[in-house]
């Protein structure tokens, strides 16, 4: 089989990319290993999606449904393969696709990789203790509750106060599971203030800041979790241990871009841990474009959609014969933890995403000849800023700085 564009993954990024390419009259195959398109959106039944893109508040499944409709409108151009896992991508631009219908090779002129992120599993945290059942990542707990209609336990503790952790605290509570607290190792909440209020305060769920799990107990089902306060280096402080008798531990300790399939094919960025891309969505390998959480973990689906559209557009222009250079590197400087994209090509203005390193009341962002002041910055909230290309001309390297003011 042959196609112009192969899109790997039909989450928010992949669906947007496929539609963008179909609008440019290309033949598109989008492969999704799940039974339906939508990716992580399908399990996020809370609202808060689409405020930027649709200017209204939708739930995850509603947001996905809008794009699913669009996909079907381009049915002639876009071939949607569900239940179809892309197992391998080869240097010669062929991919191996595996589905219950067939196992086959597909030849593409360009690939848009949109495989999303995976969660950091419990094992990787090296928490001492037993290895009982009842320990779930937030995503697994969310899937079991929202899609599979299963309660994950009776009494739970949550680790990680990012938006996902807090949303799960509320969800579990609403379904009659007692949530005894949310543990966060940072001295401030990891997610949006609105979620601290709507998901924790409104339900009287205590938030334990500067704290971490130091031990899990129970040789069959989880029985007890020991939590301790941490110092500035996140080391547990002896003597501060508190014990929670719970049968469930939900971990929300970060997402990792899924990049394994592209090992050896593209360059990765060591800060985002995702695929290093230009503002065109192009990777270090000219025929592989990427978008969404596999490039950097985004806060909002609206951003992901935009980046998917962008990657779809430039991938299409590539198929139509245009060639792009990666451009100049964008590097995080003072007070900046990470930036996306990782390179800038002046075909267009730059939409820059960044995260600060620490909470700041007020800071001046400096990028090339561009400056802008921001207030109330926290690392968990991405800064998004559009920078006109005139401000970035004649640079051989773009440093991104946040000066505290």
């Amino acid at each position: 089989m042959k196609t112009d564009v192969l899109v790997i993954g039909a989450g928010a990024a992949g669906m947007a990319a496929a539609i963008a390419a179909a609008k440019r009259n290309l033949k598109v195959v989008i492969a999704e290993r799940d039974e339906i398109t939508g990716g992580i959106l399908n399990q996020c039944i809370h609202n808060g999606f689409g405020l930027h893109y649709f200017r209204e508040e939708l739930t995850g499944p509603e947001y996905a449904e809008r794009f699913r409709e669009q996909l079907s409108r381009y049915a002639g151009a876009i071939d949607v393969l569900n239940d179809c896992h892309v197992l391998r991508l080869n240097r010669d631009r062929t991919a191996l696709l595996v589905s219950p219908k067939n196992v086959f090779e597909l030849e593409a002129k360009v690939v848009v990789y949109a495989a999303g992120a995976r969660e950091r599993p419990f094992g990787s945290l090296m928490i001492p203790g037993d290895r009982p059942s009842g320990i779930f990542t937030a995503g697994v707990a969310q899937r079991l509750m929202n899609i599979d209609n299963r309660k994950v336990g009776r009494k739970a503790l949550i680790v990680g106060s990012g938006d996902i952790g807090m949303i799960m605290a509320r969800r579990l509570t609403l379904e009659g599971i007692e949530v005894v607290g949310v543990v966060e190792r940072l001295p401030y909440p990891g997610g949006l203030l609105r979620n601290v209020i709507q998901c924790l305060k409104d339900f009287n769920i205590p938030l334990y800041l500067s704290s971490t799990v130091v031990e899990v107990k129970g040789s069959e089902r989880l029985e007890e979790v020991v939590v301790a306060s941490v110092d500035e280096q996140f080391r547990p402080i002896p003597g501060t241990e508190k014990s929670f008798k719970v049968d469930t531990l939900v971990l929300s300790v970060g997402l990792i871009p899924q990049v394994e399939m592209l090992n050896g094919l593209v360059t990765l960025d060591k800060r985002t841990r995702g695929i290093a891309c230009s503002n065109t969505g192009q990777s270090s390998n000219e025929w592989i474009f990427a978008a969404g959480n596999c490039t950097a973990v985004f806060d909002l689906v609206d951003y992901v959609t935009k980046e998917g559209e962008r990657a779809g557009e430039y991938a299409s222009r590539y198929v139509n014969g245009e060639r792009f250079s990666l451009g100049v590197p964008i590097v995080p400087g003072e007070n900046v933890m990470l930036t996306f994209p990782n390179y800038y090509n002046d075909v267009d203005d730059l939409t820059l995403y960044l995260r600060c390193k620490k909470p700041m009341e007020k800071a001046l962002l400096k990028v090339g000849g561009f400056e802008k002041t921001f207030e109330d910055l926290i690392p968990s909230e991405m800064i998004v800023v559009k920078i006109p290309k005139q401000k970035l001309s004649n640079l051989d390297r773009i440093e991104v700085k946040l000066e505290e003011v």
């Binding site: 196992v103 090779e105 990787s124 599979d148 309660k151």
Partner: protein, 479 residues
């Protein structure tokens, strides 16, 4: 003639299979929900060459012979082994002297092709090793395997050949006439027997006590491990040992069969009442980290997949305790199986069937006609050629539904594992490697739960991780 084997670890499973070659009725009784979940589940998985067991010890007698038997065994039972070879590294003159002693000891133990390599040779084969290394003892027959898979494969094959397997059944006492055992009493029933073989791992001393037979006291020696992502599996190709001390073979760095990297184990003696203590500790994991960096200086600990612990059944004699009881004439011990018990197991099984039962106990065993020595493992579709896989999917669509993305396991393999006896999440995991990869089941666990629910015609709330009270999900959110 009925023989009951107690304990379905690698030792008991191989003994049971060996006995199935004869016209006897073989019972295998295991208290866990599946086979290979005792000591056999968590160890270094090394097929030791056999140079570090004292000359004349029981360990030495069975280690290199068992090692050699694995080639044929893995072919018959279709489980994987890799002859990676092993290095014992010496960083100073004192340690170099130990290598020479090990070489001589190994030769006396019948270990083939041992040699001592200089720094250049070692670094040319294993470039990640600490360049301060001086010398290394190279043992080409050393290898790696998946220990639980040896037990699973042996039991599956034995079942084909008439074995009666009793899982989730604990031996709690014996019924005796005079000194002889006539019944094995479990928490569920009484089995009439003629011979009992005690392969109860960490608990073999307690089982022997119940029988009134000889035993050596066992206490657990904990070993903690760190498992790293597959990305690192090729950072070393062979098993890398430090120079051993009196107490243990030390903390090692080795590849795993499926391409990961394993670090450990520690050696911590625990009192005999802590035989179920499989907890990891900060100190243990930290000591593994600190130590391995001396062998392989660049290890990326951000790629940790999990940490776990295993328990060696250690005895004061530091040696296996194998043989027929003098007090209870129809009772045989296979206990104190510390390292290299995995390696030695096939040789021990053969010894017990041929020498202990037939010669020493004068039991006349006739070989069974129609014994089928071969067992096929679960077909791994992702390893097939494109054409073969296409054909398989035409016949069975679920062979094209990928469930575990990290380890590339299809629905067909999971269904097959259930058909072969997996009843729990861990049962599926250890038979297929699903949930074993870098995401630790985050993508596939909920799907596997549903497949188990469907195939076992049960409700997900009834499905456990590994033991009767290790429930995974509760009732429904909405009816």
């Amino acid at each position: 003639m009925r023989v009951a084997v107690i304990g379905a670890g690698v030792v008991g499973s191989l003994i049971a299979r060996e006995l199935c070659k004869y016209d006897v009725e073989v019972l295998l009784i295991e208290k866990n929900l599946d086979v290979g979940w005792g000591v056999t589940k968590a160890n270094s998985a090394i097929l030791h060459a056999g140079y570090d067991d004292p000359v004349g010890s029981v360990r030495a007698r069975f280690c290199s012979v068992g090692n050699a038997m694995y080639t044929e065994l893995s072919r018959e039972l279709d489980f994987e082994i890799k002859r990676t070879g092993s290095y014992v590294l010496a960083f100073n003159d004192e340690e170099t002297a130990v290598l020479h002693k090990l070489l001589v000891q190994g030769e006396k133990n019948g270990v083939p092709n041992l040699s001592i390599h200089d720094r250049e040779t070692i670094l040319s084969r294993e470039p990640r090793i600490n360049p301060e290394v001086k010398m290394g003892l190279w043992a080409p027959t050393a290898g790696i395997t998946e220990p639980w898979m040896v037990a699973i494969a042996a039991v599956e094959n034995a079942l084909e050949n008439g074995l009666k397997l009793f899982l989730n059944e604990e031996v709690v006492d014996f019924e005796k006439q005079g000194n002889r055992i006539v019944g094995v009493i479990t928490n569920k029933q009484v089995h009439r027997v003629d011979v009992v073989i005690n392969a109860a791992g960490l608990f073999a001393d307690e089982v022997a006590k119940l029988a009134g037979a000889e035993y050596v006291p066992l206490h657990p020696r904990k070993g903690q491990y760190i498992l790293l992502d597959k990305k690192l599996g090729n950072s070393v190709r062979s098993v890398i040992f430090p120079t051993p001390t009196e107490k243990s073979k030390g903390i090692l760095v080795l590849p795993t069969i499926d391409g990961g990297l394993l670090l450990g184990p520690t050696a911590e003696d625990l009192p005999s009442d802590r035989k179920n203590d499989l907890t990891t500790t900060n100190e243990g994991i930290q000591s593994v980290k600190d130590f391995v960096l001396k062998l392989v200086p660049e290890i990326d600990f951000s790629l940790v997949v999990k940490t776990f612990a295993g328990l060696r059944p250690e005895s004061p004699q530091k040696d296996f305790f194998i043989g027929k009881s003098e007090i209870v004439p129809n009772f045989v011990n296979a206990m104190a199986m510390r390292s290299p018990g995995l390696t030695a197991a096939p040789a021990i099984a053969k010894y017990i069937a041929e020498e202990v039962l037939q010669q020493q106990m004068r039991i006349n065993l006739t070989t069974k006609k129609g014994f089928k020595p071969e067992r096929k493992g679960i077909r791994k579709y992702a390893e097939l050629s494109l054409e073969e896989w296409q054909r398989a999917v035409k016949e069975n669509p679920s062979a094209g539904r990928m469930i575990c993305f990290c380890n590339e396991v299809t629905e067909a393999e999971i269904v097959e594992a259930i058909r072969r006896g997996a009843r729990t999440l861990d049962g599926v995991k250890f038979r297929t490697r699903a949930m074993f990869g870098r995401c630790q089941g985050d993508f596939c666990m909920s799907k596997i739960l549903k497949i188990l629910e469907r195939e076992l015609k049960t409700d997900a709330s009834q499905i456990v991780l590994k033991s009767p009270n290790s429930w995974v999900v509760d009732g429904k959110v909405r009816e």
